[in-house]
């Protein structure tokens, strides 16, 4: 297959369809709408299900019902819409159903704006809906990677009967890049045993997230958490750049990771040994490599398009062994490579400290820009 110039949202939609998506339910919201629009034409063309729901609440609950049939189903939205989906996501998790959702993150809180942001990290990675559950979170940094992760998302969802989120941001959704979309896969023919379909005279199946007897609920929670341990052991994905001889490491995901890579390359040109760790799975988080780096490098710079959300996960692994600094832009502002370069130079020039909180120091520096 040849590469084509394609928009991120459209590419993910087409990749999902070619990965055997049988039903899509969604609601328009910028900056993810092209994903819905593309499937509104393509799904019916192929005799597959497309429903524009009455709300994101409706969409995610349609996904909930559709996932009960064991087929490949998904929805997509952007931050405010994903907030509305949190109810359904919790129910899907509690019923142990495979489903994929895409969050094309925009500036917030509230209506915020429609510019690229990463402010949903805590919501998606550490919670969102009520109750004990985890979501596999994949964070692409290019249109091609988004395409590749889309097929993977369905495989992982089915393998672990889990929710998988592809967390992009407005720039990845909107930007056009050359990408190669894999060929059309045949639809899944095997329906899992647990899926509802009508008894046809056989044993009744029922799918629910209700367990009124607390010991039953606890057993479910235990099963979810031991499955999560399995996911942590097997599914960590990240990309390292110049890590072998790195003395300092930048940690960033998605667009922030990509911008940071430009800065890291510029730093390398100046002879400073800086590497980049770009987590691809935000959950499970790449703890092991980060832990390894914490033993050998001199310090870290976390770069995000939020106020330091992944930062806390990095600090949890580094545990004060090495200095961790932070640089972020918020509210839909995308950092320039030059800004990140300045921050790297500040880090490498020292002095470094493990005292205090890197967010406080960053906010103090931001006062010059925003104060």
């Amino acid at each position: 297959m040849a590469k084509e110039l394609i928009k991120g949202n459209t590419a993910v939609a087409e990749a999902a369809l070619r990965a055997g998506l049988e039903a899509y339910f969604g609601y328009p919201i910028t900056p993810q709408t092209e994903l819905l629009e593309h499937l509104s034409l393509r799904m019916p063309e192929l005799g597959r299900v497309f429903v524009q729901a009455e709300s994101e609440l409706g969409a995610i609950n349609m996904v909930y019902g559709a996932a009960c049939t064991g087929k490949r189903v998904m929805t997509s939205s952007s931050s405010p819409g994903v907030s509305l989906m949190m109810e359904g996501l919790s129910y899907i998790a509690g019923t142990e159903l495979p489903a994929v959702f895409v969050d094309v993150v925009r500036g917030g809180p509230g209506l915020g704006n429609i510019a690229p942001a990463q402010g949903d990290y805590i919501q998606i990675v550490h919670g969102g809906g009520h109750g004990d559950y985890r979501v596999l979170v994949l964070a692409p940094a290019s249109v091609q990677e988004a395409v590749d992760l889309t097929g993977l998302a369905f495989d992982l969802a089915e393998k672990y009967r889990s929710l998988v989120c592809i967390m992009m941001d407005g720039s990845l959704g909107q930007m056009m890049e050359p990408a190669e979309i894999p060929p059309m896969q045949p639809l899944k023919t095997e329906i899992p045993d647990w899926a509802v379909r009508g008894t046809d005279g056989g044993e009744k199946r029922f799918l629910t997230s209700i367990n009124l007897d607390p010991p039953d609920q606890e057993r479910l929670n235990y099963r979810l958490m031991t499955r999560w341990q399995e996911i942590e052991a097997n599914e960590v994905r990240y990309k390292g750049y110049y890590l072998d001889d790195a003395e300092f490491v930048v940690v960033g995901f998605g667009t922030a990771g990509r911008v940071s890579l430009s800065a890291v390359r510029a730093t390398r040109d100046k002879g400073i040994k800086v590497g980049l760790l770009r987590p691809i799975t935000l959950a499970p988080f790449p703890n092991a490599i980060l832990n390894e780096l914490a033993e050998k490098v001199e310090g870290f710079l976390v770069v995000e398009m939020n106020a330091g959300q992944m930062l806390e996960d990095v600090r949890l692994v580094v545990r004060g062994r090495k200095p961790v600094e932070f640089f972020g832009r918020m509210g839909g502002v995308v950092p320039f490579p030059d800004e990140v370069l300045t921050e790297i130079e500040r880090l490498t020039a020292g002095p470094l400290t493990t005292e205090g909180h890197p967010r406080d120091r960053w906010l103090a520096r931001m006062a010059e820009v925003l104060g």
């Binding site: 729901a53 909930y64 019902g65 509802v196 009744k204 629910t208």
Partner: protein, 259 residues
């Protein structure tokens, strides 16, 4: 005494589709009647093995325990959305939701209007007993003016608490809704009429004619503070004037159905 060999004829038995378990519904509650009618209709249509039910949140949250058909349990109010997801992927299957008035007409109003307006091929069994039964009898969107509930302790004051929603009348305005009727379960005659309506609703789905809903006026003796017999009278005297029984939407195609 002479023993005579009288041939027995079964005139009444539990539909096989209903599980022979102890009911969790209160004495005098008509949920059991509604369950039975749905069960009888599914059996008579030969649809038991072909059906998927969607339970809702409220007293009927455990509806799935009583029916020997595949079942799923929806979030509060979202049964029509969940049923949409199932039916669109399994169009040959019969899919129904079973929802109470708080679930359908309050928190789930968006989902029921969406499903009806899209003309989803679903059958909705809608139980209207004018209160939130499961949580102990709070004011529902269907609570009558002046009716005392635990959250309208001095009686529903429509100037402060709004007016009851007439759901069937409202949904009947939607083009996608093919069959919307209101029946009652407060006496034998109405129970028989209710069964006929439920049969029609499932036939409408089977024949692909559009969205179908049967609203069933039901009793809630426990939360109304009445005996079973008094509760049935209360339906007749209090509910019928505000919620008149009738056919609110019969699409032309449904009108031509010969059952």
């Amino acid at each position: 005494m002479v023993m005579m060999d009288v041939p027995t004829k079964v005139v009444y038995e539990r539909p096989a589709v209903l599980d022979p378990r102890v009911t969790h519904y209160c004495p005098g509650c008509t949920h059991g009647v509604a369950h039975r009618l749905v069960g009888e209709v599914l059996e008579e249509m030969g649809e038991v093995g072909n059906t998927i039910g969607v339970a809702s949140v409220g007293c009927s949250v455990f509806a799935y325990n009583y029916f020997n058909v595949d079942f799923v349990e929806a979030a509060h109010g979202r049964a029509p959305a969940m049923a949409t997801g199932i039916k669109r992927l399994l169009p040959e299957r019969t899919v129904f939701t079973y929802q109470g008035d708080g679930d359908l007409a309050s928190i789930g109003m968006g989902e029921i209007v969406g499903a009806a307006s899209r003309g989803e091929l679903l059958t909705v069994i809608f139980i209207n007993n004018t209160n939130y039964g499961m949580t102990g009898g709070q004011m529902a969107p269907t609570t009558l003016p002046g009716q005392v509930t635990t959250s309208s302790p001095t009686g529903r004051d429509v100037t402060r608490q709004g007016h009851p929603i007439q759901t069937s009348e409202l949904l009947a305005t939607l083009e996608g809704a093919a069959y919307v009727v209101r029946r009652s379960l407060h006496n034998v005659r109405e129970v028989r009429r209710a069964k006929k309506a439920i049969r029609t609703a499932f036939e409408v789905q089977k024949k692909g004619l559009g969205f179908s809903l049967v609203e069933l006026l039901s009793t809630c003796p426990t939360n109304w503070g009445l005996s079973a017999a008094e509760a049935r009278e209360w339906v007749e005297e209090r509910m019928l004037p505000y919620f008149p029984l009738g056919d609110y939407k019969i699409s032309p195609a449904v009108a031509e159905l010969d059952l």
